[in-house]
Symmetry: C2
C-alpha cells in the first residue's frame, strides 16, 4: 500500500515502528491496557521514558559523558525561546542560515543582544556562511545544523570556545558528527525520531549549572532535568514511538550505518539533479543537505508533466517550500533507497519527454 513518502516533516517512519505503535494503542505489551490510557507515573511508562533517554544518549555517543536527554513539548519553536531565556546573560551569537534561524533570532532578542555572526540571507539562504570570526565574549553561539526549507547543511561545525547550541530538528541521528562539541542541542521529533508532539533536548550538565535561575517552570531546563522530563504529564505516545524509532536505529547499526545509507540516497538524487537537463539544484554544492534535496526546473521547462508523473507513481510530499519553489526530496533515515530510485526514474522519464 505504501507511498514513496518524501514529506519534509512530519515524515516517514520505519514500517516496523508504525506497526508496533499501532499495536500499543490497542494494548501495550500484554498489560491489558492501551499505551494511551496508562498513567505516566506507571512503571511501564517510566521504563519507556528511561529507555528513550538512554537510547538518545547512546546513539549520539554521549552516555556517561555528562549529558542529559530530555523529552519536552512545544517543538523547536519553544526551544528558540527556552535557549535564550535560560542562557542569555548579555549577548549571544547566531548564524542565520534560513527561516528557522531567523525565528530563533527573533525570540532571543527579547532576552539580550543578538549578534548575527554571519548570514546567507543575501542569496536566499542557498549556502552556509563560513569562516566568520566568533567573538569569545558571547553567552553562546546558536546554529541550525540542517536547513529543511533551503536544503543546506553544516558539514563542518564552527570552531568556538563559547557554548555551542544547535537546532538539529532535521538532521539529528542522521550522521556521525562529534555530538560532544555541543553544549545543548534539540530537535522536534517529527523528522528522524518520531511523530510530531515531542522535542528532544540533550544538554550538558555543566551548562545546566550556569543557567539563569529566574525562569518560568515550564521553560526551565533545570526543572525539566530535575524532574526527569516528568515535571508535567509528558506526551506519552510521541515519546513511546520515538523510543521505538531509536531502538530501530540501533538495530540498523546506529548512526554509522544509517549515515552510509543516507549518503547513498543523497548521492543518487544529487547525481541525477546534476545530470538531468530538466532540473537544477538550489543549494550550493558544497553545502548540500543529506536530508533535504532542493531543486527547481531548469529555465524554460514546464513542470506540468513531471507533477503528473510523480503523482501517478505514488510519490508523495515532493513539493518545494514556497520560499524556494520547485521540489524538495526529504530523504530522512527511514526512507528506503527504493523510493529514491523511483524518483530518479521519474525524473529521467520526464527528461526524455521534453
Amino acid at each position: 500500500m505504501k507511498k514513496h513518502n518524501f514529506s519534509a516533516g512530519p515524515s516517514i517512519l520505519p514500517a516496523s515502528v508504525m506497526e508496533r505503535a499501532s499495536e500499543a494503542i490497542k494494548e501495550l505489551d500484554g498489560i491489558g491496557l492501551s499505551l494511551i490510557e496508562i498513567s505516566h507515573r506507571s512503571k511501564e511508562f517510566i521504563a519507556i521514558m528511561d529507555k528513550a533517554q538512554a537510547l538518545a544518549l547512546e546513539l549520539t555517543g554521549l552516555t556517561d559523558k555528562g549529558y542529559q536527554a530530555l523529552f519536552l513539548q512545544g517543538g523547536a519553536s519553544t526551544q528558540f525561546l527556552m535557549a535564550a531565556i535560560n542562557l542569555m546573560k548579555t549577548k549571544a551569537g547566531y548564524i542565520n542560515t534560513g527561516a528557522w534561524s531567523d525565528k530563533a533570532i527573533k525570540e532571543a532578542k527579547r532576552y539580550g543582544e543578538v549578534v548575527e555572526i554571519a548570514s546567507s540571507k543575501d542569496q536566499n539562504f542557498n549556502y552556509i556562511p563560513k569562516g566568520a570570526e566568533i567573538p569569545s565574549n558571547l553567552d553562546y553561539l546558536h546554529i541550525t545544523t540542517n536547513n529543511t526549507i533551503f536544503g543546506t547543511q553544516f558539514h563542518h561545525l564552527p570552531e568556538t570556545n563559547v557554548p555551542l547550541i544547535a537546532d538539529m530538528s532535521s538532521d539529528i541521528f542522521s550522521r556521525e558528527i562529534d555530538y560532544s562539541a555541543f553544549d545543548l542541542f534539540y530537535a522536534g521529533a517529527q523528522k528522524n525520531m518520531g511523530p510530531a508532539g515531542t522535542t528532544l533536548v540533550i544538554v550538558k550538565d555543566s551548562l545546566l549549572e550556569q543557567m539563569n535561575k529566574d525562569v518560568p517552570s515550564m521553560l526551565s531546563y533545570a526543572i525539566h532535568a530535575d524532574k526527569g522530563s516528568m515535571f508535567n504529564t509528558p506526551p506519552v505516545f510521541a515519546i513511546y514511538t520515538s523510543m521505538l524509532t531509536l531502538e530501530w536505529l540501533k538495530g540498523q547499526g546506529g548512526i554509522k550505518a544509517i549515515e552510509k545509507h543516507n549518503t547513498t540516497k543523497a548521492q543518487l538524487i544529487y547525481d541525477e539533479i546534476d545530470r538531468n537537463t530538466a532540473f537544477e539544484g538550489f543549494a550550493a554544492k558544497e553545502d548540500r543537505s543529506f536530508m533535504n534535496a532542493t531543486f527547481n526546473l531548469a529555465e524554460g521547462v514546464d513542470g506540468t508533466l513531471f507533477d503528473k508523473l510523480w503523482n501517478q507513481t505514488d510519490i508523495s510530499g515532493l513539493k518545494g517550500h514556497r520560499s524556494v519553489g520547485g521540489y524538495r526530496a526529504s530523504i530522512y533515515n527511514a526512507l528506503p533507497l527504493a523510493s529514491v530510485h523511483q524518483l530518479v526514474e521519474v525524473m529521467q522519464q520526464f527528461e526524455k519527454s521534453i
Copy 2:
C-alpha cells in the same frame, strides 16, 4: 482483555476511539500513508484540525458565539504561564482549591500581583470555598473547576464581572454548565478528551483583542489563534485522537447525555462510600467531584486485603494521590458503569471480611 481503568490521567478513552486511532497509525482513511507520517499542512490533517476545533465549540455550545478553539502543547502547566503573561496587566484573582491552583498562582506571580480570593488550604483542600467577594478591579479571575487530586468540584461558578478563566483539565466535556460564562478555559487532553500531548484552549475573541502584545510567539494566544493552531507543527496524533473522542461524545448524545451517565456512576460510588463502614469519603459532600471520588479507609481498618481484592479483579489505577492517601476512583466520560459496579462489589466484599 480490558481492565477497569480508574486512572486519574492519562486515563481511559472509548474502546472505539482506541481502535480507530490504532488503525490510523497503520493507514489513515485509505490514503496509503500513516496518520503520523503526513504533513500537518496536508489537506487530510487540515480537515482533522478543523473538525476537532468545530466539535470542541459545538459540544460546549459555543459555535458562532465569538469563541475560538485552539489545540496547543505543554499541558495545563503551560497554560498557567500563558494565562498570566497574556492577560495580567496589574493584578489578578485566583481561588486556590488545590495543588494545581497553587502552581497556577506561582507562575502568575511573575507577571503581576496575585490576589488569593479564597483558599481551602486550611483543610487540605477538601472543600470549595464559597461566597468570597470578588473585587471588580482584577484583570481576571482564575479557578480550577475540578480538583483531580482532592476530588472536589465547583458546582456553582463564582459570579464576577471580570474575565473568568478556568483550568478545566479534569472535567471539561463532562457536564452541562454555561461555558459562555468563561472568557477563556483550557484543558490538558488526557482526561476526557484524548491522549496526553495536546491542550485545548477555548477563548473569547473579545478577550484576544485585549491581550498583552509583547509576548513570546509560542506563548501568545493571539499568534496561535491567528495561525489556526498551526504556528508550529501541531501534535498530530493527539489532536486526531481528541477529534475521534469528541466525535464519539457527540455520537453518545453530547454533554447532556454524558452528564447523565456520569451522575449515575458518581451516585453509585458515593452511595457506597457513605454506606460502607470500611471507608470514609475525603471531600466535603456538597463539593464532591463527579470525576474523581476520593476516599480513605475508616479509622483502624487495614487495607491490605482490599488492595489485594481490587488488584485481583482487574481494577487498575485506584491508588490515591500521595497528598490525600487512600483511594481515588476517577470515573471520566469513557469509564463504563460496569467498572463502577465492579468496584462497589469489591468494596462490599471487603467490608464483609473485616
